[in-house]
């Protein structure tokens, strides 16, 4: 055993010395490799965190949302639909929601106005999300002037700011009273935006949804299960956000590994020829080159992963911000909660370290099994 370890140490010494003879090339390879691991790991850590957080937060979303459709488009739902839903077995609560969007031309941002169901907001006042406060430079006590749907200037006094911890779900929220909401949007008195239902037994939700579709055929039912699936799909690697971010990185890695697999430089072939000529066995050459690949890929993995961790959890994934922000003015300033999945890290290790090592071994093996003279002359 000691002999084996000593032998590997000598091979490692030789590999490191050989790499040190080409410092520029090795540094370049390490930089590219590290950058690819960094990007892959950043996407993985970021989306895993958001996926877990979305699942935890949206577990409290309404069990059923009922929207009215007219000619395939969502419309305001009449108040009497609450009564028409009537007493469906299993439904514990039915209530209409008032919410909508407002485009503020002063800062070119979209706000989401909501009438909170759990408390009364004093008419003439609003509570705003941290994103609106930041963008408009507002503090409690300030006045925010907006133009209503009738074109009249309307002044709201900022009663409170929603805490910064709420950024991810409330950065663009503006909580208003029902009276202000209806007056501001010129919202019909006999209408809600949509209706939400609570169901006592989770296993009854689909049955309730089926009954709703039969009783109110001009409506669309959105289940919490669908909301959770939507966010699961948004952060899954097969589509959407992750696919866009990942596709470039994976392609770069494939090109990189392919380049290594496609052949050796003349210098490397000569080196293998000389080693064989002075008595190295094919196995030794392969082991030495395997160490070379392992040194590079392990270093790149550790550097890339640690840099990605710092980027995502300490620097709030600053590099992804332009991708996520798009044209939006309001963007939540938040630090993702680190939900690191060990299996995902192991998968990343496997798929970034082993393909490279295998890719480097193929041309080395081809050169190592040839006659030393032929290798040096080729």
């Amino acid at each position: 055993m000691i002999h084996f370890i000593q032998r590997q140490r000598y091979l490692m010494d030789y590999s490191l010395a050989a790499m040190a003879r080409r410092p520029g090339k090795q540094a370049g390879l390490l930089a590219v490799y590290t950058a690819i691991v960094f990007l892959l790991a950043s996407v993985m850590l970021y989306t895993q965190s958001l996926r877990r957080e979305a699942a935890l937060l949206l577990a409290g979303a309404p069990e059923i949302v009922l929207q009215r459709l007219i000619a395939g488009r969502q419309d305001l739902i009449p108040v009497d639909y609450v009564a028409r839903i009537g007493r469906i077995r299993g439904v514990s609560r039915v209530r209409g929601r008032l919410w909508g969007y407002f485009y503020d031309p002063a800062v070119r941002a979209n706000y989401t106005l909501i009438v909170p169901p759990d408390r009364e907001i004093e008419p003439g006042t609003i509570e705003i999300g941290p994103g609106i406060a930041r963008t408009r430079g507002l503090a409690p006590g300030d006045i925010l002037g907006l133009r209503s749907a009738r074109g009249e200037p309307t002044a709201f006094r900022v009663a409170a700011l929603l805490p910064t911890e709420s950024e991810l779900v409330a950065t663009d929220l503006m909580l208003v009273s029902e009276r202000d909401f209806r007056a501001f949007f010129d919202f019909p008195a006999e209408r809600f935006t949509d209706i939400v239902l609570s169901v006592r037994n989770p296993r009854e939700v689909r049955n309730v949804a089926r009954k709703l579709s039969l009783r109110l055929p001009d409506t669309r039912v959105v289940l919490r299960e669908e909301i959770l699936r939507t966010y699961d799909a948004l952060f899954s690697w097969r589509q959407g956000l992750v696919f866009v971010l990942l596709a470039g990185a994976v392609l770069a890695f494939v090109i990189f590994a392919w380049d290594r697999a496609s052949g050796l430089s003349g210098e490397e072939r000569r080196e293998i020829g000389i080693l064989k000529a002075i008595g190295w066995e094919t196995g030794d050459v392969l082991r030495m080159k395997l160490w070379e690949g392992a040194i590079l890929s392990l270093s790149a993995f550790l550097l890339g992963y640690l840099a990605a961790y710092v980027h995502v959890f300490l620097l709030s994934a600053a590099l992804f911000e332009p991708v996520l922000k798009g044209w939006a003015v309001l963007y939540p300033a938040f630090n993702p909660v680190p939900f690191v999945d060990g299996l995902q890290v192991a998968t990343l290790f496997f798929f970034t370290v082993f393909p490279y090592m295998v890719a480097t071994m193929v041309p080395v093996w081809r050169a190592a099994v040839m006659d030393p003279d032929a290798v040096m002359r080729s």
């Binding site: 490692m12 309404p62 949509d194 909301i227 690191v340």
Partner: protein, 95 residues
């Protein structure tokens, strides 16, 4: 000092940092539990359905409630207006 000693020491330091990052993740997740509970409470209290990640268009602000035709609201073959519209997939219906 042998080159292999230097390399193995560097790998050792890297591995320790990797373990520390896992430890740090655990500590941060524990510290964030109260904030997470606050956000979850807000979602339940206000009946929110979506994260405020993409605020530029209504179908990216609330993808779970969006009309499936909304990105093409101008006409059936309309091009997508908003950058985030291309990375937010439509609502995932139950089968």
């Amino acid at each position: 000092m042998r080159r292999s000693d230097l390399f193995l020491s560097a790998m050792g330091v890297g591995s320790v940092l990797l373990l520390l990052s896992a430890l740090d993740a655990g500590v941060r997740a524990r510290d964030a539990a109260a904030d997470l509970a606050f956000r979850a409470g807000l979602v339940s209290a206000l009946g929110l359905t979506d994260l405020a990640l993409f605020t530029e268009a209504r179908y990216t602000r609330h993808p779970s409630l969006a009309d499936l035709a909304s990105p093409f609201q101008d006409h059936p073959m309309a091009l997508e207006h908003f950058p985030s519209g291309s990375i937010v997939p439509p609502r995932s219906p139950l089968r």
